[in-house]
């Protein structure tokens, strides 16, 4: 019998488990997380059997290193989704960051660190404006960010006339290609994992982080309870902008040249990664553990398909089918838990 029931005549078999126990904790792990990690495992197995060399740790580290831009932008997307939003401007912000990085690097006396800081500030600034727009109007995030994405694309197309200038210095390119202590892991992988842990800690361990979930779950209730809803919304988009800028830097470090379109697929891929990881677009759920799995699934799946030399149209079909299967499974799991 639960200790929490004072005058209870109803019994609940679940109350047998003492609150806060390991079993209870495990029971509350969202089913999506099990599925996401199951999928990661499946991809790893496929990779292991699909190639001559098998699956080695260095190979895995390379795959994850290359996924760092997606990993970082998926963190951004998760924060926003937890907050009951969605940020369709992350791709254009990544492009902006890539363009700015190359441009600033080309200016005399530029240093990679200064460049990075300026670019992240610029991304955060764009996110701030988006956040203010969404927090102080009732424009739905899907459309608000679609609109800002369009405006951002228009502005950088106009400014560059289609042709980004400058180039990426070796100092920055080492982020993607450099070996950390001689291992196959790149610095960008460390950046991703560091951000994952940091953001995860803030979301799960701090009052402010919990309030992101509260705002996402029920903004009206949160507001009436004195939670600064607007501040959290602005903060979420601001963080998203800054993180997307980091992702943009990692991308251009990897690719070597800025482009107006290179990051476009990252917008929806980041949403997909967050959703595979258990974030619901209805807000209030999502975690860094899950999003990591989501990114890993996408990266591994692409690698599996590439290593089987699957032509790109077929890859599109397979990706879509896996996503549909995932989504159907998730909705089934969610519903059976609800009963």
């Amino acid at each position: 019998m639960s200790t929490t029931t004072a005058s209870g005549s109803r019994t609940d078999p679940r109350s047998q488990s003492p609150s806060g126990s390991v079993a209870e904790t495990l029971r509350r792990v969202p089913a999506q997380l099990w599925v996401a990690y199951g999928l990661v495992l499946a991809c790893l197995l496929l990779l292991a059997v699909s190639s001559e060399g098998g699956l080695t740790l260095p190979r895995l580290l390379r795959i994850l290193s290359n996924a760092a831009p997606l990993g970082v932008v998926a963190i951004a997307q998760t924060i926003v989704i937890v907050n009951r939003g969605i940020d369709l401007s992350v791709g254009p912000v990544m492009n902006t960051a890539a363009i700015l990085t190359a441009l600033l690097s080309a200016s005399p006396g530029a240093r990679p660190l200064t460049t990075t800081v300026l670019v992240v500030l610029a991304g955060g600034g764009i996110g701030l404006l988006t956040g203010l727009l969404l927090a102080f109007t009732k424009i739905p995030p899907l459309l608000g960010t679609l609109a800002t994405a369009t405006v951002i694309q228009g502005v950088y197309s106009l400014a560059t006339r289609g042709q980004p200038r400058g180039s990426v210095p070796d100092g920055l390119r080492d982020l993607a290609d450099g070996r950390v202590l001689g291992s196959p892991a790149s610095a960008s992988l460390l950046v991703w994992l560091g951000l994952l842990v940091a953001v995860g800690a803030v979301l799960a361990r701090t009052v402010a982080g919990q309030r992101f979930y509260a705002v996402g779950a029920n903004p009206r209730a949160a507001r009436l309870s004195g939670v600064p809803v607007r501040a959290h919304t602005v903060a979420a988009y601001c963080a998203s902008g800054a993180l997307a800028a980091v992702a943009g830097i990692l991308l251009v470090a990897y690719s070597g040249s800025p482009s107006l379109t290179a990051a476009d697929p990252y917008t929806l891929n980041s949403v997909v990664a967050a959703v595979i990881g258990g974030a619901a677009l209805a807000g209030g759920t999502g975690s860094m553990t899950g999003t990591f799995a989501g990114v890993a699934v996408l990266a591994l799946l692409t690698t599996v398909l590439n290593s089987f030399s699957v032509p790109s149209p077929v890859q599109l079909v397979v990706n879509g089918a896996v996503l549909v299967a995932m989504l159907l499974l998730n909705s089934r799991l969610t519903r059976s838990r609800r009963r």
Binding site: P219, V272, N330
Partner: protein, 333 residues
């Protein structure tokens, strides 16, 4: 005679009165101020370029009214162009290929609807479907006996004076879709369930049928849009609809249809499409830097949302965005 125009129709026109005024005003101003705008070439070009947008946005409007959204419209339009190009491989030739293309659109829509009914968020369901459809279209496109059915496309692409046949088709289709959503029993269920699915299910309304129908229509209209595109481009191109996704959503939004479902009228898609198209045409014709067109679209989107927010009609729309995907409430059969 106001009774002739049903109350629903006049209500939807009144609700979007500002938009209708804006559309008409823009056309008049453009015709007066920009001489090139009045030329037959320009008018024909404008109408022909509007037809696909009108068709696809109409389908999108129905999907959005039902509480969903359809990101697969562009891919479906692309697939349509490819299926048409396979007419040599189809018994019965081009007309059968045309019918087949429309059926394919319908089926993709039905599958989208089924996924949504199974509890998948429509945004993600249709996004995934878009990937699959586009992949399939690219595969088919590379088959060797693909060719453009020139005869059929020429016929479909006929113009009466500067007015292309498909612009007329688009207009008729739009009115039909509006009539269905507002005057048919199932269409009313689309609106009701789009606004509040839980209650619709509790009342025992045919929510499943309505959802399927809405997405099926969206797929069908996207396929029609693909046909309209082929009559201009004469090319099987799996990627040809990519810009249609955002354009159709923007049009639906400018039309004042709430992205949260149930609120707004398909009829308003017409003035919305006119506003977007005329401004675009004027930008091109006056030699304004074309990149401003992209910026203009974004700003227009924001303005539209701002205006409808100010016009707020007591419906608590924005907070409802986070409503979970179409899931039947637990415990109700």
């Amino acid at each position: 005679m106001p009774e002739l125009l049903s109350t629903t129709a006049s209500r939807s026109v009144r609700r979007a009165g500002l938009l209708w005024l804006l559309a008409v005003g823009l056309v008049v101003v453009a015709a007066v101020a920009v001489p090139a705008f009045r030329t037959p070439v320009s008018v024909g070009s404008l109408l022909a370029s509007m037809a696909p947008v009108l068709l696809i946005a109409t389908g999108q409007a129905v999907a959005v009214l039902s509480g969903g959204i359809d990101l697969s419209v562009g891919a479906v339009a692309g697939l349509t162009t490819v299926v048409l190009s396979l007419y040599l491989a189809v018994p019965g030739g081009a007309p059968v290929a045309l019918a087949l293309a429309l059926v394919v659109g319908l089926v993709v829509g039905l599958l989208n609807g089924a996924g949504v009914l199974a509890g998948v968020n429509p945004l993600l369901m249709t996004f995934a479907a878009a990937g699959i459809v586009q992949g399939a279209a690219l595969l088919l496109q590379s088959t060797p006996d693909a060719a453009t059915p020139f005869e059929l496309v020429r016929v479909l692409g006929t113009s009466v004076g500067p007015v292309p046949l498909l612009a007329v088709v688009a207009l008729v289709a739009l009115v039909a879709a509006w009539w269905w959503t507002s005057q048919s029993r199932l269409g009313r269920v689309v609106q009701a369930a789009g606004y509040d699915q839980r209650t619709a299910v509790r009342l025992g309304l045919p929510v499943r049928r309505a959802t399927l129908a809405a997405f099926a229509l969206s797929g069908l209209f996207a396929a029609l849009g693909g046909v309209a595109i082929v009559t201009r481009t004469f090319t099987a191109d799996a990627l040809v609809g990519s810009s249609a996704v955002i354009d159709s959503i923007a049009t639906v939004l400018v039309a004042g249809i709430a992205i949260t479902g149930g609120v707004g009228s398909v009829l308003s898609v017409l003035p919305a499409a006119v506003v977007v198209a005329v401004v675009g045409q004027v930008i091109t014709l006056t030699g304004t830097d074309p990149y401003y067109q992209t910026i203009f679209k974004g700003v227009l989107l924001l303005l539209a949302m701002g205006v409808y927010q100010l016009a707020g009609d007591g419906l608590r729309v924005p907070w409802r965005l986070g409503r979970p995907a179409l899931v039947r409430p637990a415990g109700l059969a």
